[in-house]
Protein backbone atom coordinates (compact mmCIF):
# COMPACT_ATOMS: atom_id res chain seq x y z
CA UNK A 1 0.00 0.00 0.00
CA UNK A 2 1.59 3.28 -1.05
CA UNK A 3 2.11 5.78 1.79
CA UNK A 4 -0.66 8.37 2.04
CA UNK A 5 0.27 11.48 0.11
CA UNK A 6 1.36 14.33 2.32
CA UNK A 7 0.15 17.85 1.63
CA UNK A 8 3.09 20.08 0.82
CA UNK A 9 3.86 22.38 3.78
CA UNK A 10 2.59 25.91 3.07
CA UNK A 11 5.57 28.11 2.37
CA UNK A 12 5.86 30.86 4.96
CA UNK A 13 4.73 34.32 3.88
CA UNK A 14 7.51 36.89 3.85
CA UNK A 15 7.26 40.63 3.61
CA UNK A 16 9.66 43.48 4.16
CA UNK A 17 8.81 46.95 5.48
CA UNK A 18 11.30 49.75 5.91
CA UNK A 19 11.26 53.02 7.83
CA UNK A 20 13.18 56.29 7.87
CA UNK A 21 15.37 55.91 10.97
CA UNK A 22 15.47 59.67 11.54
CA UNK A 23 11.77 59.75 12.35
CA UNK A 24 10.92 56.18 13.37
CA UNK A 25 12.21 54.96 16.72
CA UNK A 26 13.72 51.51 17.08
CA UNK A 27 11.95 50.91 20.40
CA UNK A 28 8.57 51.28 18.72
CA UNK A 29 9.58 48.72 16.10
CA UNK A 30 10.70 46.36 18.86
CA UNK A 31 7.44 46.80 20.74
CA UNK A 32 5.43 46.13 17.58
CA UNK A 33 7.53 43.08 16.83
CA UNK A 34 6.88 41.80 20.35
CA UNK A 35 3.12 41.98 19.85
CA UNK A 36 3.53 40.04 16.65
CA UNK A 37 5.19 37.07 18.35
CA UNK A 38 3.29 33.89 17.56
CA UNK A 39 1.93 35.40 14.35
CA UNK A 40 5.18 36.30 12.64
CA UNK A 41 8.84 36.77 13.39
CA UNK A 42 10.41 40.16 12.80
CA UNK A 43 14.04 40.86 12.19
CA UNK A 44 15.15 44.47 12.24
CA UNK A 45 18.28 45.51 10.39
CA UNK A 46 19.79 48.85 9.56
CA UNK A 47 20.55 49.76 5.96
CA UNK A 48 21.96 53.23 5.63
CA UNK A 49 19.44 55.60 7.17
CA UNK A 50 16.59 53.13 7.12
CA UNK A 51 15.36 50.37 9.42
CA UNK A 52 14.49 47.27 7.44
CA UNK A 53 11.99 44.88 9.03
CA UNK A 54 11.77 41.40 7.63
CA UNK A 55 8.55 39.68 8.64
CA UNK A 56 8.05 35.95 8.27
CA UNK A 57 4.65 34.55 9.14
CA UNK A 58 4.52 31.56 11.49
CA UNK A 59 3.40 28.36 9.86
CA UNK A 60 1.64 27.47 13.08
CA UNK A 61 0.08 30.68 14.33
CA UNK A 62 -1.09 30.97 17.93
CA UNK A 63 -4.20 32.83 17.12
CA UNK A 64 -6.18 33.15 13.97
CA UNK A 65 -5.46 32.06 10.42
CA UNK A 66 -2.24 32.45 8.51
CA UNK A 67 -1.99 36.01 7.23
CA UNK A 68 -1.46 36.94 3.62
CA UNK A 69 1.45 39.16 2.69
CA UNK A 70 -0.70 42.29 2.54
CA UNK A 71 -2.51 41.46 5.77
CA UNK A 72 0.80 40.92 7.54
CA UNK A 73 2.20 44.19 6.30
CA UNK A 74 -0.94 46.10 7.28
CA UNK A 75 -1.00 44.48 10.66
CA UNK A 76 2.63 45.39 11.32
CA UNK A 77 2.20 48.97 10.14
CA UNK A 78 -0.83 49.37 12.43
CA UNK A 79 1.15 47.99 15.34
CA UNK A 80 4.00 50.40 14.65
CA UNK A 81 1.59 53.33 14.36
CA UNK A 82 0.05 52.34 17.71
CA UNK A 83 3.48 52.11 19.35
CA UNK A 84 4.45 55.52 18.00
CA UNK A 85 1.26 56.96 19.45
CA UNK A 86 1.94 55.26 22.78
CA UNK A 87 5.36 56.84 22.85
CA UNK A 88 3.86 60.28 22.20
CA UNK A 89 1.27 59.84 24.94
CA UNK A 90 3.88 58.58 27.40
CA UNK A 91 6.10 61.55 26.74
CA UNK A 92 3.28 64.04 27.21
CA UNK A 93 1.97 62.42 30.37
CA UNK A 94 5.11 61.23 32.14
CA UNK A 95 5.26 64.31 34.37
CA UNK A 96 1.67 64.24 35.57
CA UNK A 97 1.85 60.44 35.93
CA UNK A 98 4.72 60.82 38.36
CA UNK A 99 2.84 63.49 40.28
CA UNK A 100 -0.20 61.22 40.62
CA UNK A 101 1.96 58.28 41.73
CA UNK A 102 3.67 60.53 44.26
CA UNK A 103 0.29 61.69 45.54
CA UNK A 104 -0.87 58.10 45.77
CA UNK A 105 2.13 56.37 47.30
CA UNK A 106 5.12 58.62 47.52
CA UNK A 107 6.45 61.82 48.90
CA UNK A 108 3.24 63.77 48.43
CA UNK A 109 0.95 61.13 49.87
CA UNK A 110 1.61 61.76 53.53
CA UNK A 111 1.41 65.49 53.19
CA UNK A 112 -2.30 65.90 52.49
CA UNK A 113 -2.21 69.11 54.49
CA UNK A 114 -0.31 71.14 51.95
CA UNK A 115 -1.77 74.37 50.69
CA UNK A 116 -3.13 72.51 47.72
Amino acid sequence: MPPAAKLPAASPVEVTVDFDSSIQSLSALDAAAYRLIGTATCQVDRAGDRYVCRLVSSTNPQKGAVLSSNELKERFLNLVADENLRARVAEKTEGVRNVILALAFGALAANQNDAG
Binding site: Q112, N113, D114, A115
Partner: protein
Protein backbone atom coordinates in the same frame (compact mmCIF):
# COMPACT_ATOMS: atom_id res chain seq x y z
CA UNK B 1 -49.85 77.32 51.22
CA UNK B 2 -46.57 78.92 52.15
CA UNK B 3 -46.02 79.79 55.78
CA UNK B 4 -44.80 83.35 56.20
CA UNK B 5 -41.60 83.08 58.17
CA UNK B 6 -40.89 86.78 58.33
CA UNK B 7 -42.85 89.98 58.71
CA UNK B 8 -43.30 93.21 60.61
CA UNK B 9 -44.84 93.47 64.07
CA UNK B 10 -47.82 95.80 64.22
CA UNK B 11 -46.69 97.12 67.57
CA UNK B 12 -43.81 96.83 69.98
CA UNK B 13 -42.77 98.39 73.26
CA UNK B 14 -40.24 98.11 76.02
CA UNK B 15 -37.18 97.26 73.91
CA UNK B 16 -33.90 98.89 74.81
CA UNK B 17 -32.22 101.14 72.28
CA UNK B 18 -28.78 99.93 73.39
CA UNK B 19 -29.29 96.77 71.36
CA UNK B 20 -30.42 96.66 67.76
CA UNK B 21 -31.95 93.18 67.94
CA UNK B 22 -33.31 90.60 70.32
CA UNK B 23 -33.96 86.92 70.16
CA UNK B 24 -37.31 85.84 71.60
CA UNK B 25 -38.55 82.41 72.66
CA UNK B 26 -42.31 81.86 72.93
CA UNK B 27 -43.79 80.16 75.95
CA UNK B 28 -47.33 79.21 76.78
CA UNK B 29 -48.82 81.51 79.43
CA UNK B 30 -49.21 78.58 81.82
CA UNK B 31 -45.71 77.28 81.35
CA UNK B 32 -43.99 76.43 84.63
CA UNK B 33 -40.58 75.92 83.07
CA UNK B 34 -37.74 78.08 84.33
CA UNK B 35 -37.98 81.42 82.56
CA UNK B 36 -35.10 82.54 80.39
CA UNK B 37 -34.51 86.26 79.89
CA UNK B 38 -35.53 85.77 76.26
CA UNK B 39 -38.85 84.07 77.03
CA UNK B 40 -42.11 85.75 75.98
CA UNK B 41 -45.56 84.57 76.94
CA UNK B 42 -47.57 83.75 73.83
CA UNK B 43 -51.06 85.29 73.97
CA UNK B 44 -53.87 85.13 71.45
CA UNK B 45 -56.87 86.44 73.42
CA UNK B 46 -57.47 89.22 75.97
CA UNK B 47 -57.90 86.47 78.54
CA UNK B 48 -54.43 85.13 77.67
CA UNK B 49 -53.01 88.61 78.18
CA UNK B 50 -54.72 88.99 81.53
CA UNK B 51 -53.39 85.63 82.74
CA UNK B 52 -49.92 86.44 81.50
CA UNK B 53 -49.81 89.63 83.50
CA UNK B 54 -51.12 87.78 86.55
CA UNK B 55 -48.39 85.20 86.12
CA UNK B 56 -45.82 87.97 86.21
CA UNK B 57 -44.64 87.61 82.65
CA UNK B 58 -42.43 90.56 81.86
CA UNK B 59 -42.48 89.91 78.12
CA UNK B 60 -45.54 89.13 76.04
CA UNK B 61 -46.06 88.41 72.34
CA UNK B 62 -49.62 88.78 71.11
CA UNK B 63 -51.02 87.31 67.91
CA UNK B 64 -54.05 89.44 67.19
CA UNK B 65 -55.51 92.07 64.90
CA UNK B 66 -57.62 93.64 67.56
CA UNK B 67 -56.78 96.30 70.08
CA UNK B 68 -54.61 95.16 72.94
CA UNK B 69 -55.61 96.00 76.47
CA UNK B 70 -52.70 95.99 78.80
CA UNK B 71 -52.80 97.34 82.30
CA UNK B 72 -51.01 100.62 82.58
CA UNK B 73 -48.67 99.10 85.13
CA UNK B 74 -47.20 96.74 82.56
CA UNK B 75 -43.63 97.92 82.01
CA UNK B 76 -42.26 94.91 80.18
CA UNK B 77 -41.65 94.12 76.54
CA UNK B 78 -44.52 93.69 74.12
CA UNK B 79 -44.73 92.56 70.51
CA UNK B 80 -47.93 92.30 68.55
CA UNK B 81 -48.12 90.41 65.26
CA UNK B 82 -51.04 89.97 62.84
CA UNK B 83 -53.12 86.75 62.85
CA UNK B 84 -51.38 85.44 59.75
CA UNK B 85 -48.67 84.34 62.21
CA UNK B 86 -51.08 82.18 64.12
CA UNK B 87 -48.82 79.19 63.51
CA UNK B 88 -46.48 80.46 66.21
CA UNK B 89 -46.38 78.08 69.14
CA UNK B 90 -44.67 77.23 72.40
CA UNK B 91 -40.93 76.75 72.00
CA UNK B 92 -40.61 78.78 68.78
CA UNK B 93 -37.74 81.27 68.50
CA UNK B 94 -37.99 84.63 66.74
CA UNK B 95 -35.40 87.23 65.77
CA UNK B 96 -36.69 90.78 66.26
CA UNK B 97 -35.28 94.11 65.02
CA UNK B 98 -36.09 96.88 67.50
CA UNK B 99 -36.08 99.87 65.20
CA UNK B 100 -37.93 98.47 62.20
CA UNK B 101 -40.08 95.97 64.16
CA UNK B 102 -39.15 93.41 61.48
CA UNK B 103 -38.96 89.83 62.67
CA UNK B 104 -38.04 86.39 61.39
CA UNK B 105 -39.22 83.05 62.69
CA UNK B 106 -35.92 81.31 63.25
CA UNK B 107 -37.08 78.03 64.74
CA UNK B 108 -40.37 76.17 65.14
CA UNK B 109 -40.33 73.48 67.74
CA UNK B 110 -43.09 71.39 66.21
CA UNK B 111 -41.52 71.33 62.76
CA UNK B 112 -39.25 68.64 61.37
CA UNK B 113 -37.73 71.17 58.95
CA UNK B 114 -35.86 73.89 60.78
CA UNK B 115 -33.45 75.84 58.67
CA UNK B 116 -31.18 78.59 59.96
CA UNK B 117 -29.95 81.07 57.37
CA UNK B 118 -26.34 81.93 58.11
CA UNK B 119 -25.63 84.63 55.53
CA UNK B 120 -26.86 85.86 52.18
CA UNK B 121 -23.33 86.14 50.79
CA UNK B 122 -22.09 83.48 48.42
CA UNK B 123 -19.11 82.94 46.12
CA UNK B 124 -21.28 81.05 43.63
CA UNK B 125 -24.20 82.55 41.74
CA UNK B 126 -26.26 79.54 40.70
CA UNK B 127 -28.62 80.07 37.79
CA UNK B 128 -31.48 78.55 39.81
CA UNK B 129 -30.58 79.91 43.25
CA UNK B 130 -33.59 79.96 45.56
CA UNK B 131 -31.83 82.40 47.88
CA UNK B 132 -30.15 84.91 45.54
CA UNK B 133 -26.87 86.18 46.98
CA UNK B 134 -26.41 89.69 48.32
CA UNK B 135 -23.12 91.35 48.99
CA UNK B 136 -23.96 92.69 52.46
CA UNK B 137 -22.29 92.66 55.80
CA UNK B 138 -24.66 90.34 57.62
CA UNK B 139 -22.26 88.88 60.11
CA UNK B 140 -24.74 89.85 62.81
CA UNK B 141 -26.76 86.80 61.77
CA UNK B 142 -24.20 84.41 63.25
CA UNK B 143 -24.43 86.34 66.51
CA UNK B 144 -28.18 85.97 66.48
CA UNK B 145 -27.87 82.25 65.87
CA UNK B 146 -25.46 81.94 68.77
CA UNK B 147 -28.00 83.66 70.97
CA UNK B 148 -30.73 81.31 69.75
CA UNK B 149 -28.97 78.04 70.44
CA UNK B 150 -29.61 77.96 74.19
CA UNK B 151 -33.30 78.55 73.46
CA UNK B 152 -33.72 75.65 71.08
CA UNK B 153 -35.26 72.48 72.47
CA UNK B 154 -32.56 69.91 73.08
CA UNK B 155 -34.89 67.21 71.84
CA UNK B 156 -34.78 68.72 68.34
CA UNK B 157 -33.92 65.88 65.96
CA UNK B 158 -32.28 67.88 63.19
CA UNK B 159 -31.22 71.36 62.17
CA UNK B 160 -30.13 72.63 58.79
CA UNK B 161 -27.81 75.56 58.22
CA UNK B 162 -28.27 77.29 54.90
CA UNK B 163 -27.47 80.48 53.06
CA UNK B 164 -25.85 81.98 50.85
CA UNK B 165 -22.64 80.12 51.40
CA UNK B 166 -22.56 78.96 55.01
CA UNK B 167 -18.76 78.91 55.14
CA UNK B 168 -18.39 82.52 54.06
CA UNK B 169 -17.11 83.39 57.55
CA UNK B 170 -15.86 79.94 58.25
CA UNK B 171 -14.15 80.59 61.56
CA UNK B 172 -17.22 82.15 63.15
CA UNK B 173 -19.48 79.54 61.62
CA UNK B 174 -17.37 76.66 62.87
CA UNK B 175 -17.53 78.26 66.32
CA UNK B 176 -21.33 78.17 66.04
CA UNK B 177 -21.21 74.48 65.09
CA UNK B 178 -19.04 73.82 68.11
CA UNK B 179 -21.70 75.52 70.24
CA UNK B 180 -24.27 73.22 68.66
CA UNK B 181 -22.20 70.23 69.61
CA UNK B 182 -22.24 71.38 73.22
CA UNK B 183 -25.73 72.82 73.59
CA UNK B 184 -27.63 70.43 71.32
CA UNK B 185 -25.67 67.17 71.56
CA UNK B 186 -28.60 65.07 70.33
CA UNK B 187 -29.38 67.20 67.29
CA UNK B 188 -28.13 66.10 63.86
CA UNK B 189 -26.74 69.01 61.89
CA UNK B 190 -26.87 69.37 58.13
CA UNK B 191 -24.90 72.18 56.51
CA UNK B 192 -25.71 73.22 52.95
CA UNK B 193 -22.51 74.44 51.33
CA UNK B 194 -20.94 74.64 47.90
CA UNK B 195 -17.97 72.83 49.43
CA UNK B 196 -15.35 75.06 47.82
CA UNK B 197 -13.96 76.17 51.18
CA UNK B 198 -12.99 72.59 51.93
CA UNK B 199 -10.37 72.71 49.18
CA UNK B 200 -8.41 74.55 51.86
CA UNK B 201 -6.91 71.97 54.22
CA UNK B 202 -6.95 74.40 57.12
CA UNK B 203 -10.72 74.70 56.89
CA UNK B 204 -11.34 70.94 56.58
CA UNK B 205 -9.15 70.30 59.59
CA UNK B 206 -11.05 72.91 61.62
CA UNK B 207 -14.31 71.24 60.52
CA UNK B 208 -13.01 67.86 61.56
CA UNK B 209 -11.85 69.25 64.91
CA UNK B 210 -15.42 70.16 65.83
CA UNK B 211 -15.78 66.45 66.56
CA UNK B 212 -19.53 66.64 66.09
CA UNK B 213 -21.30 63.28 66.49
CA UNK B 214 -23.80 63.85 63.63
CA UNK B 215 -22.65 66.48 61.16
CA UNK B 216 -23.20 66.28 57.39
CA UNK B 217 -22.02 68.61 54.66
CA UNK B 218 -24.56 68.68 51.79
CA UNK B 219 -22.74 69.73 48.63
CA UNK B 220 -24.11 70.23 45.10
CA UNK B 221 -22.35 68.70 42.12
CA UNK B 222 -24.07 69.34 38.82
CA UNK B 223 -22.00 67.47 36.23
CA UNK B 224 -19.03 65.24 35.64
CA UNK B 225 -17.41 68.00 33.59
CA UNK B 226 -15.89 71.20 34.93
CA UNK B 227 -17.32 73.82 32.59
CA UNK B 228 -20.88 72.48 32.81
CA UNK B 229 -20.87 72.64 36.61
CA UNK B 230 -19.09 76.01 36.59
CA UNK B 231 -21.68 77.45 34.22
CA UNK B 232 -24.59 76.30 36.38
CA UNK B 233 -23.02 77.85 39.49
CA UNK B 234 -21.63 80.79 37.52
CA UNK B 235 -18.12 80.52 38.97
CA UNK B 236 -15.02 79.43 37.09
CA UNK B 237 -12.98 76.93 39.04
CA UNK B 238 -15.91 75.92 41.26
CA UNK B 239 -16.01 72.29 40.11
CA UNK B 240 -12.33 71.73 40.83
CA UNK B 241 -12.59 73.24 44.32
CA UNK B 242 -15.82 71.45 45.15
CA UNK B 243 -14.55 68.00 44.15
CA UNK B 244 -11.26 68.60 45.95
CA UNK B 245 -13.27 69.70 48.99
CA UNK B 246 -15.30 66.50 48.94
CA UNK B 247 -12.12 64.41 48.69
CA UNK B 248 -10.54 66.18 51.63
CA UNK B 249 -13.66 65.86 53.77
CA UNK B 250 -13.87 62.11 53.15
CA UNK B 251 -10.14 61.73 53.63
CA UNK B 252 -10.68 63.00 57.17
CA UNK B 253 -13.70 60.78 57.75
CA UNK B 254 -16.35 63.53 57.54
CA UNK B 255 -19.89 62.87 56.31
CA UNK B 256 -20.82 64.17 52.88
CA UNK B 257 -24.03 64.26 50.88
CA UNK B 258 -23.96 65.16 47.20
CA UNK B 259 -26.97 67.03 45.80
CA UNK B 260 -27.91 67.39 42.15
CA UNK B 261 -30.69 69.82 41.30
CA UNK B 262 -32.29 68.74 38.04
CA UNK B 263 -33.28 71.19 35.30
CA UNK B 264 -32.70 71.65 31.58
CA UNK B 265 -28.92 71.96 31.99
CA UNK B 266 -28.35 69.12 34.44
CA UNK B 267 -31.17 66.64 33.86
CA UNK B 268 -30.37 65.58 30.27
CA UNK B 269 -26.95 64.44 31.55
CA UNK B 270 -28.15 63.04 34.88
CA UNK B 271 -27.31 59.45 33.89
CA UNK B 272 -23.72 60.43 33.11
CA UNK B 273 -23.46 62.43 36.33
CA UNK B 274 -24.92 59.58 38.40
CA UNK B 275 -22.59 57.05 36.80
CA UNK B 276 -19.60 59.34 37.36
CA UNK B 277 -20.46 59.79 41.05
CA UNK B 278 -20.97 56.02 41.41
CA UNK B 279 -17.56 55.36 39.88
CA UNK B 280 -15.51 58.18 41.42
CA UNK B 281 -17.17 59.09 44.71
CA UNK B 282 -19.02 55.94 45.82
CA UNK B 283 -17.88 56.53 49.41
CA UNK B 284 -20.16 59.55 49.97
CA UNK B 285 -22.80 59.03 52.61
CA UNK B 286 -25.80 60.00 50.51
CA UNK B 287 -26.77 61.31 47.07
CA UNK B 288 -29.92 63.41 46.66
CA UNK B 289 -31.28 63.96 43.14
CA UNK B 290 -33.65 66.91 43.42
CA UNK B 291 -36.52 68.45 41.55
CA UNK B 292 -36.27 72.19 40.90
CA UNK B 293 -37.83 74.80 43.19
CA UNK B 294 -39.08 77.46 40.84
CA UNK B 295 -38.19 80.47 42.95
CA UNK B 296 -35.47 83.13 43.11
CA UNK B 297 -33.18 83.07 40.09
CA UNK B 298 -34.97 80.03 38.70
CA UNK B 299 -37.80 82.35 37.72
CA UNK B 300 -35.44 84.81 35.99
CA UNK B 301 -33.81 81.94 34.11
CA UNK B 302 -36.98 80.00 33.50
CA UNK B 303 -36.53 79.82 29.74
CA UNK B 304 -33.08 78.29 30.11
CA UNK B 305 -33.90 75.99 33.02
CA UNK B 306 -37.44 74.65 32.85
CA UNK B 307 -37.67 70.97 31.92
CA UNK B 308 -40.70 68.84 32.54
CA UNK B 309 -39.54 66.11 34.98
CA UNK B 310 -41.41 63.48 33.05
CA UNK B 311 -39.00 64.13 30.17
CA UNK B 312 -35.96 63.23 32.23
CA UNK B 313 -37.51 60.26 34.03
CA UNK B 314 -35.62 57.61 32.03
CA UNK B 315 -32.24 59.20 32.62
CA UNK B 316 -33.09 59.63 36.29
CA UNK B 317 -34.03 55.97 36.63
CA UNK B 318 -30.73 54.93 35.07
CA UNK B 319 -28.78 57.27 37.32
CA UNK B 320 -30.52 55.81 40.36
CA UNK B 321 -29.72 52.31 39.09
CA UNK B 322 -26.01 53.07 38.65
CA UNK B 323 -25.78 54.60 42.10
CA UNK B 324 -27.72 51.95 43.98
CA UNK B 325 -25.92 49.14 42.11
CA UNK B 326 -22.69 50.67 43.39
CA UNK B 327 -24.01 50.56 46.94
CA UNK B 328 -24.59 54.32 47.25
CA UNK B 329 -27.57 55.58 49.32
CA UNK B 330 -29.59 57.53 46.81
CA UNK B 331 -32.82 59.47 47.28
CA UNK B 332 -34.98 61.53 45.00
CA UNK B 333 -36.31 64.76 46.49
CA UNK B 334 -39.05 67.19 45.59
CA UNK B 335 -40.70 65.20 42.80
CA UNK B 336 -44.20 63.77 43.06
CA UNK B 337 -44.61 60.07 42.36
CA UNK B 338 -46.88 60.60 39.37
CA UNK B 339 -44.01 62.06 37.35
CA UNK B 340 -41.44 59.46 38.43
CA UNK B 341 -40.76 56.03 36.89
CA UNK B 342 -41.93 53.31 39.23
CA UNK B 343 -38.41 51.95 39.69
CA UNK B 344 -37.54 55.24 41.39
CA UNK B 345 -40.44 55.26 43.86
CA UNK B 346 -38.59 53.42 46.65
CA UNK B 347 -36.06 56.26 46.60
CA UNK B 348 -38.55 59.15 46.49
CA UNK B 349 -38.77 60.94 49.83
CA UNK B 350 -41.16 63.45 51.31
CA UNK B 351 -38.51 66.10 51.33
CA UNK B 352 -40.15 69.49 50.94
CA UNK B 353 -40.07 71.61 54.09
CA UNK B 354 -43.48 71.73 55.69
CA UNK B 355 -43.78 75.49 55.45
CA UNK B 356 -43.59 75.45 51.66
CA UNK B 357 -45.23 72.13 50.86
CA UNK B 358 -48.60 71.65 49.23
CA UNK B 359 -50.73 69.53 46.90
CA UNK B 360 -53.14 70.28 44.09
CA UNK B 361 -56.80 69.34 43.74
CA UNK B 362 -55.97 66.35 41.55
CA UNK B 363 -54.10 64.86 44.51
CA UNK B 364 -57.26 64.44 46.57
CA UNK B 365 -58.15 61.26 44.75
CA UNK B 366 -54.59 59.88 44.60
CA UNK B 367 -53.68 56.58 46.30
CA UNK B 368 -50.08 57.62 46.87
CA UNK B 369 -50.67 61.03 48.40
CA UNK B 370 -49.61 59.99 51.90
CA UNK B 371 -46.13 58.99 50.78
CA UNK B 372 -45.67 61.63 48.10
CA UNK B 373 -43.48 64.73 48.29
CA UNK B 374 -46.12 66.94 46.77
CA UNK B 375 -45.09 70.32 45.39
CA UNK B 376 -43.33 73.53 46.35
CA UNK B 377 -45.67 76.40 47.14
CA UNK B 378 -42.93 79.04 46.78
CA UNK B 379 -42.15 81.14 43.74
CA UNK B 380 -44.08 80.37 40.59
CA UNK B 381 -44.92 76.68 40.77
CA UNK B 382 -44.72 74.94 37.40
CA UNK B 383 -46.40 71.60 37.05
CA UNK B 384 -45.43 68.66 34.90
CA UNK B 385 -47.95 67.64 32.28
CA UNK B 386 -47.84 64.19 33.91
CA UNK B 387 -49.37 65.27 37.21
CA UNK B 388 -52.30 62.94 37.69
CA UNK B 389 -53.84 61.01 40.57
CA UNK B 390 -52.53 57.48 40.84
CA UNK B 391 -55.46 55.13 41.21
CA UNK B 392 -55.84 51.40 40.74
CA UNK B 393 -57.98 52.28 37.74
CA UNK B 394 -55.11 54.16 36.19
CA UNK B 395 -52.83 51.18 36.76
CA UNK B 396 -55.32 48.99 34.91
CA UNK B 397 -55.43 51.43 32.03
CA UNK B 398 -51.66 51.57 31.92
CA UNK B 399 -51.49 47.78 31.90
CA UNK B 400 -53.92 47.68 28.99
CA UNK B 401 -51.89 50.26 27.12
CA UNK B 402 -48.77 48.11 27.56
Amino acid sequence: MTLRLYGTASRSAGFSSDEARSVLRLRSVDSVAERHAADFALARTPDDIRRAVEADWSSILVVSDGAIDLPGTFAGRLVTVPPIYDYLAEGDVIGFDHASRKFRTLYRRNSAHNSLLVTERCNNYCLMCSQPPKDVDDRWILGEIKESLPLIDQATRALTFTGGETLSDWEDFIAVLTECRDRLPATAIQVLTNGRAFANSRIVDAWKDIGHPALMAAIPVYASVDHVHDHVVQAKGAFDETILGILKLKDRGQRVEIRVVMHALTAPIIEDTGRWIARNLPFVDHVALMGLENTGFAIANDAMLWMDPVDYGDGLARAVDHLSAAGVNVSVYNLPKCVLPKSVWPHALQSISDWKNGFVEECDRCDEKNTCSGFFTTGRPRFSRAVRAITSQRDKLTALAD
